[in-house]
């Protein structure tokens, strides 16, 4: 999927907090882009705008040439159906099984009655089970999510995102609440999926080392503006502007 942002602005509290201030960039199909920056730089706002959870105040957001910022109702949902997203806090239904959580991603494609009754059908169940197998949870299909570890939960969330066969995968701090070893495993899984499925990935991260290692390109935000846009394999000094005050990133 081709993604293009043009002069996107977003502020909160009646304009007193400018979260995004004229952000423009484009992402080509199949790229792995990491958005980096200190807390409050606007990373989360960016993802929220891209998945349609919020609307920008000004500027344009295009997905494959369709204006996301102007889409409403059915048109917006049609765009959202082509996205997969994963979150720092997983956003799973804790009481439901792993399989059910993955199946939930099939709900947008179903007609209302079967969706409410839970008649997902054999084919979707098999597909969901195969995806859980793909992320390494073949033995946890029926486990309620609250029994899983943090890394396992994020794997369920990834399987749920893949269930949508997304063209663009949005990841909001996907490893921030995991320990370093588990976080690395999740990143390796994401990279592997990206290679095999040819996905476009846009990830938020405050972990510069992981972002540099796994992505093709970095976009550095600081106080809502793009201050770096370029290759990921650069020395830390090149990213000084991102973390402000000329200080190199940790």
């Amino acid at each position: 999927m081709f993604l293009r942002l043009q002069d996107v602005c977003k502020s909160y509290n009646g304009g007193s907090v400018r979260a995004l201030d004229g952000v423009s960039f484009a992402v080509a199909e199949g790229q792995f882009v990491s958005v980096i920056g200190p807390s409050g730089a606007g990373k989360t706002t960016l993802v929220r705008l891209l998945c349609g959870a919020e609307r920008c105040d000004a500027g344009q957001i295009e997905l494959d040439g369709v204006r996301l910022d102007q889409a409403r109702g059915g048109a917006l949902r049609a765009l959202q159906r082509r996205l997969g997203s994963i979150w720092q806090d997983f956003a799973l239904v804790e009481q439901a099984s792993a399989l059910q959580n993955v199946l939930n991603a099939a709900l947008p494609d179903m007609s209302p009655l079967p969706a409410l009754a839970g008649a997902f059908g054999r084919q979707r169940r098999d597909e969901a089970a195969a995806l859980l197998d793909r992320v390494g949870l073949a033995d946890k299909l029926d486990a309620p999510v609250h029994q899983l570890s943090g890394g396992q939960k994020q794997r369920v969330a990834i399987a749920r995102a893949l269930m949508r066969r997304p063209a663009l995968l949005l990841a909001d701090e996907p490893v921030a609440s995991l320990d370093p070893v588990t976080g690395r495993q999740i990143m390796e899984l994401l990279q592997d999926i990206r290679r095999t499925e040819g996905l476009t990935v846009l990830m938020n991260s405050h972990d510069l080392a992981l972002a540099k290692e796994f992505s093709d390109r970095l976009i550095g935000l600081n106080t809502g503006r793009v201050v770096y846009d370029g290759p990921a394999d650069v020395p830390d000094q090149a990213l000084a502007a991102v973390y402000g005050g000329g200080e190199a990133a940790p």
Binding site: D89, F90, A91, L92, Q95, L107, L116
Partner: protein, 509 residues
């Protein structure tokens, strides 16, 4: 997955089948209720407007009611706090003591406050002292159980560490373990204070003081406008206590902060209120009491009327207990069904503010009326018998279940809901798959808990002629027929024990 779904469906089917059996057994007849709806409406209309001029007459008995509940709750909760560590299975206190205390708690837990109060009137005379004693015992039983359950799941690292330093176990408990259960303990105590006000309001029925005597009198004389003013006064008192308790709960759970001075003022006020309540509650009256009465009561428990106990006919214990369970079951299911929409209506999260406020006020009003009053009102419409009992239990259940359910709605985790929204899932499917799974367990546990309470409440409905084991029990006690009373008491203990075990099994699933 498949298997789980099938088991869930089976459970629902079994519950439905049980409900229809219980409804048939208790002679539930919606047509009868509908045909006599006019009587109910008449009574409600007559209650409004309430007799304002009569209001001052209510204040003294109302204060006595509040006094009984404050003193009884505080004393009972303190006793429970002392006993709870000794009851908990994970602490190194003597096993025989634990077994004995647990048996005592289980035994006292069986009996509704009203029966405890009736028993107390035989021992300490008629008046508020008996009521206070009953509330104390009732609170003790519930709090001891809840607190020892909490202790068993609380982290015990600090406690063990203190033990290894040579701290005596009891002291080690209060230093090392109590802090982690303290907020639940206080929350439970505050919640019991609320329910105890309602319980105290009917203790007057058996001569144990408070506003109940007056209420009973006015209902039997059909002075409904005076009944209306009593109920309004009760409603206001319950509102006051609920908001006070909500404020204190928020402080205890740390959702609201208070400065050091404010904290001290609150604690001092609570202590003063408790002391004043306890000191002015009235003296026990031993004029009617004798050791012989107490001995005869115990004798009834030791030598119950086994003929009645094993009688399987329609007048036998088995039938009466079954009727009690059926009333509780049918009433709980009906109440749960009615609670669902009310809870949704009262949720500040899903509804606009005025609607939610209205929903909550309705819930509160339903909860403020003591349950025997519903019995007395329904009996005018549907006549004496178990069906009236079912209606009574159903209406009483609505108050508590909708409150618990509303709390569950207000503490739902919305993240999964939003995540599904960002995938383009339509709103109904989002509610069905991201929100309902969270509410199911909370709803189930609220209903199970209420069923447990309803068994006790159903066992005193007989007092107003609404079926179940209550009438024979109170009749036997009033006539000093201790062997029959003993047989019923033993039957109730066994019944509550069996239900406890069953609901424990259900909870595990």
């Amino acid at each position: 997955m498949r298997l789980q779904r099938r088991r869930g469906a089976l459970l629902v089917l079994a519950a439905l089948a049980l409900f229809f059996l219980a409804a048939a057994f208790t002679g539930c007849d919606p047509a009868l209720l509908w045909s006599r709806r006019g009587h109910l409406a008449d009574i409600l209309v007559k209650m409004f407007p309430p007799d304002w001029g009569w209001f001052p007459r209510i204040l003294a008995p109302l204060w006595a009611t509040v006094q009984m509940s404050v003193a009884g709750t505080a004393l009972g909760a303190l006793l429970a706090l002392a006993a709870a560590p000794l009851c908990a299975g994970n602490l190194p206190f003597p096993a025989p003591l634990r077994t004995a205390l647990r048996a005592l708690v289980q035994l006292t837990r069986t009996f509704p406050a009203l029966i405890l109060a009736l028993t107390a009137t035989f021992l300490v005379g008629i008046g508020p002292f008996a009521g206070t004693a009953a509330i104390t015992v009732y609170t003790f039983a519930i709090m001891a159980r809840l607190t020892s359950d909490d202790i068993e799941t609380a982290p015990d690292g600090a406690f063990r560490a203190l033990l290894t330093m040579g701290t005596p176990p009891y002291r080690a408990f209060f230093r090392g373990m109590f802090p982690s259960v303290a907020s639940t303990y206080l929350t439970n105590a505050l919640y019991l204070l609320e329910t105890n006000v309602r319980h105290s309001a009917i203790l007057g029925y058996v001569g144990a003081g408070g506003i109940g005597l007056l209420l009973n009198e006015k209902i039997s004389w059909r002075e409904y406008e005076k009944v209306g003013s009593i109920l309004l006064a009760l409603f206001l008192a319950v509102c006051l206590i609920e908001s006070l308790s909500a404020y204190l709960t928020a402080l205890v759970t740390g959702r609201r902060k208070a400065g050091r001075t404010l904290r001290r003022v609150i604690i001092a006020a609570a202590v003063v209120l408790t002391l004043v309540s306890a000191a002015t509650v009235g003296r026990p009256d031993f004029a009617r009491t004798s050791l012989r009465t107490a001995a005869a009561m115990l004798g009834g428990l030791v030598h119950p009327d086994w003929g009645f106990f094993f009688d399987t006919g329609a007048g036998g214990l088995g039938y009466l207990l079954l009727e009690t369970v059926a009333i509780a079951l049918a009433g709980t299911v009906l109440g749960a069904l009615a609670s669902f929409p009310l809870a949704l209506l009262g949720s500040g999260r899903l509804m606009p503010r005025p609607v939610a406020l209205l929903g909550r006020t309705v819930c509160l009003a339903i909860r403020a009326v003591p349950f025997l009053v519903y019995g007395l009102i329904f009996i005018r419409a549907t006549g004496p018998g178990p069906f009236t009992g079912v209606l009574t239990i159903a209406v009483c259940s609505v108050g508590l279940i909708s409150k618990r359910f509303g709390q569950a709605i207000d503490t739902m985790d919305m993240r999964a809901y939003r995540a599904l929204a960002s995938m383009g899932v339509p709103v109904l499917s989002r509610v069905r798959w991201a929100l309902l799974p969270q509410l199911g367990p909370a709803f189930g546990s609220a209903v199970l808990y209420r069923f447990d309470v309803n068994i006790r409440e159903a066992s005193v409905l007989g007092l107003v002629g609404a079926g179940g084991i209550g009438a024979p029990l109170v009749f036997a006690m009033d006539h000093f027929d201790w062997p029959t009373a003993g047989a019923i008491a033993i039957g109730l203990v066994l019944l509550v024990w069996a239900i406890d075990w069953l609901s424990g099994q259900l909870r595990k699933n």
